[in-house]
């Protein structure tokens, strides 16, 4: 092998290693700084009434979890239509809106965010509305709590269109 050829091979090897390191570094950098899912920027997977999602959960919790909860927390995004039953704030000063119809055993608790709290505040008790958010857990009767737990939706905003 000539000296020139050896040099050329070495150059290619070095360049390949450098390229590999750069790509690897970029992947690690991306994974490390991966942004949280922007729920409001995503298209909704399901658009249903609070009654229908609550009843689906009360009928078969396991099946509903398998259908709606994501493997790594990347669960389904819902637009829920319902009536505002109550309004509150959590310990993180996020507004929570409970969508529940009068005859239902449970409702959908929608937790808003700092940037959407103002939209939640425009809602009135008894008002019909549509709220978009990511599902975190379903409704069920808990024997220890002795009460029905609501469907939980987070990162919420009011759907206006």
């Amino acid at each position: 092998m000539t000296k020139d050829k050896k040099k050329k091979i070495r150059k290619i090897v070095l360049l390949t290693i450098l390229f590999g390191a750069l790509v690897g570094g970029a992947i690690v950098f991306y994974l490390w700084n991966m942004p949280h899912i922007d729920v409001q920027a995503q298209k909704a997977d399901f658009s249903v009434s609070s009654t229908s999602i609550v009843n689906e959960y009360l009928k078969d919790e396991k099946a509903a979890n398998a259908k709606y909860l994501g493997d790594e927390g990347d669960s389904k995004i819902f637009v829920i239509k319902g009536t505002v039953k109550s309004k509150d704030t959590d310990m993180n000063n996020q507004v929570t809106i409970l969508l529940q119809e009068a005859n239902d055993k449970a409702g959908v608790k929608c937790v808003f965010m700092a940037e959407t709290n103002n939209n939640a505040n425009t809602l009135q008790i008894g008002q019909q509305t549509k709220i978009k958010g990511i599902i975190r857990s379903g409704a069920k009767y808990d024997e220890d709590l002795e009460l029905y737990e609501d469907v939980l939706l987070e990162k919420c905003d009011v759907v206006t269109e």
């Binding site: 398998a66 909860l69 790594e72 959590d90 310990m91 857990s137 987070e154």
Partner: protein, 185 residues
């Protein structure tokens, strides 16, 4: 006929009375915050959850806390993914964790008088369908009729068969996790 009506009225009256009594005795949480913290030389990891539901019986001291696991919010999205993943807490299959216990020194707590009372809590924690006993101390704060419970507990991950077998997460997550709970009733 009148007799039947009277009996029905009595039954309904009694049921109503008892159900009111129960709501008075049993407090339902209004707000909550649960922090989890893991420390290793490699890094500190913490996450927070504001969406738990809890009850507290003033008469029996029964405490129940139901925690929706996917509501834990991490700074890093990747950590949140790891936390929820099948290899770790598998929150798709086990979306809720539960603490069920009793305040054992209920006689030391006066729910009608403002103050900060030390409480001992004894019960069991269920995570991923694995249940372990929990015995911890906490405080019950009564202020203007509002009750707040604060408690800290340690969770040994191995007790709940929670572990990353290999890779970076296995080295960067502590074997014991600190859990801080604040529940406002």
């Amino acid at each position: 006929m009148k007799k039947v009506a009277a009996v029905i009225a009595l039954v309904i009256g009694t049921i109503t009375l008892f159900s009111f009594k129960q709501t008075d005795d049993k407090l339902i949480s209004k707000k909550s915050q649960i922090d989890i913290f893991s420390h290793t030389d490699a890094e500190d990891i913490n996450a927070v959850n504001f969406s738990s539901t809890a009850t507290l019986s003033k008469e029996s001291g029964d405490v129940v806390v139901s925690v929706p696991m996917q509501s834990f919010e991490f700074k890093k999205a990747l950590m949140q993914k790891h936390f929820n993943s099948e290899k770790f807490l598998d929150t798709k299959a086990f979306p809720k964790a539960k603490f069920k216990g009793k305040i054992t020194n209920l006689k030391d707590i006066n729910f009608t008088k403002d103050g900060v009372y030390n409480a001992t809590v004894s019960g069991e924690m269920t995570i991923k369908e694995t249940t372990n006993p929990v015995n911890e101390k906490g405080t019950v704060t009564v202020k203007g009729g509002q009750v707040t419970v604060d408690t800290k507990l340690k969770i040994v991950l191995a007790d709940y068969k929670i572990a990353f077998e290999k890779g970076k997460p296995s080295k960067n997550i502590a074997k014991t996790i600190d859990v801080t709970m604040k529940i406002e009733y």
